[in-house]
Symmetry: C2
Subunit: 336 residues, 2 copies
Amino acid sequence: MNIKEVARLAKVSTATVSRTINGSDKVTAKTAERVRRAIETLKFYPNTNARALGSGRSSLYGLIISDITNPFFPELVKSFEDIAVQFGQEVLIANTNYDPHRMEVCVSRMLQRKVDGVAIMTSEMDERLIDELNSRSIRMVFLDTGKPQKGISNIAIDYASGIDAAVEHLSALGHTSIGFICGPMQLTSARTRRRAFIQSLKRKGLLLDNQLIEEGNHRMDGGHEAMLRLLGKNPRPTAVLTSNDMMAIGAIGALGEHGLKVPRDISIIGFDDIELGAFTQPALTTVRLSRPEIAKVAFRALYDAKDDATAMGAEFTIQPTLIERKSTGPAPKHRA
Amino acid sequence: MNIKEVARLAKVSTATVSRTINGSDKVTAKTAERVRRAIETLKFYPNTNARALGSGRSSLYGLIISDITNPFFPELVKSFEDIAVQFGQEVLIANTNYDPHRMEVCVSRMLQRKVDGVAIMTSEMDERLIDELNSRSIRMVFLDTGKPQKGISNIAIDYASGIDAAVEHLSALGHTSIGFICGPMQLTSARTRRRAFIQSLKRKGLLLDNQLIEEGNHRMDGGHEAMLRLLGKNPRPTAVLTSNDMMAIGAIGALGEHGLKVPRDISIIGFDDIELGAFTQPALTTVRLSRPEIAKVAFRALYDAKDDATAMGAEFTIQPTLIERKSTGPAPKHRA
DNA sequence: CTGTTAGCGCCTTCAG
DNA sequence: CTGAAGGCGCTAACAG
């Protein structure tokens, strides 16, 4: 089953079939209709591989993420796909599993499939692999990594503004002793969030107590343990910001075990706004880093520049926003 | 950059390059080595589209799921990919979003990309689409849907045994009044789980109180509300099974709001064993439906039969297993 | 507006 | 064991 059989049935040339499939406007409505009917009755599906080979365009966009089981990513993947579909493009997803070697494999797959562009949503990226992509004129877009260059765009997250909003919120509730559970310090994004927190305290004229910054692993258990350590401090913070929601959820669990009520005894604010956060007990106040927005910007960064792959990349900025739910409240009057 | 340039550099024909790329054993080790070096220095990546077109095999396997943001799926996707990679195959993921129309789109993508087989892990499937696939000799494997046929395998979940284990566990703890929060009744799998629960009670000689079966939506909020309804019943159950973990988590939240302790006042058992369950407060006792196992069986069902696509499909059975954590305990002596 | 005809890059007989 | 050459299904000039 191929274009030729369709052509025969519709009594036109293969070129005309190709044209109507691709929505060319230089086909009479009548001929096009005939072709479409032939396609219908033959249940013909154009061969993507042949299309890509013939045209040079794959209509495929790569999306490289760290780990699909990390709750941050599924929504990103879904949104990216939705947008791609809207534009008639397809998505090739690849996981690095946080492993530099696998990143190599991922890039290799992108190269072999001749993607038209690739969104690299992991925090680290090998310079050599970038060159590999670059030398084949494949546009890239990164998430919060590096500066725009020829063919490379970047999506910057304005962590400062998001964390400022969180600190402001706590400050307005009367909190002055605010702790922070940061992510693993080898992650650029974790370092950035931590820095944003410190600077935010300064800006608000709040006391920075280095004791109240604990490191976690961006997972629930890490948040749990970090919170336990924080509870041992004296004075203990009345509110805690975390570098991501998973740790916030873990922290709330730790508090529960110690008979502490959130937000009565301690307020908690997460970061990311994963879906789960709306359903925890209490619902998590958090700083939303909108995945749909990131996905949309990433795709457009690639797609809109598809015709001049070597054009200068742009820098886009995403503003996180505070989502007030139930895990924050007035600072307790008396210390436990 | 193509096979021709590699051939020129290595001073062989394109056929020889093709052969060494494909690991044919009829190439001298020395020639192969020379070719590989040429590939290396040229940084040549074979064009997948051309390969598929030329060979007729795409080395691509489709994986159709309902929704990547449903926590059941990411691990399945990951495992499926891992296995595929081990066998040098690639995976094309498609989401239906629970929408029959999107299922059509998904199948269409599979057809256009000429997948070598497709794992359909959604609960419902259109007969017509199956024929579409079947008529093109594309092997399929379903999850707990229908019977094996020519070219179609099925992975059956032994719900009965999993739920039996859960009921047995509760029974041994002294529970006699056991409630059930079932999934949306339009889902086949939800109906099956419900039926398994009812039959399990019978087998154990436990009382079946229809009042104690409430319907949820397989999400946290549904579990939350169903549990609230269950709390209004008299007598109230001392233990509750849920059709999936998300609802169990929601149920635990509802209990917390009412000042009830799990498992002191009520025991809860989930189903699926999503990663999250290990981190809830308390950690969730659940019936594990191993996604890695499902993924492995699904892939093998497709891959092992790749050479005779019309061979009869097989039926595979997956045994769920009870994972005892902290959300179950002895039945309370006194009723609240 | 429609048909003709080269490729696209690789695989795969078929010879040698 | 290696090379030559046709073909996979479609697209994209180029004619007409």
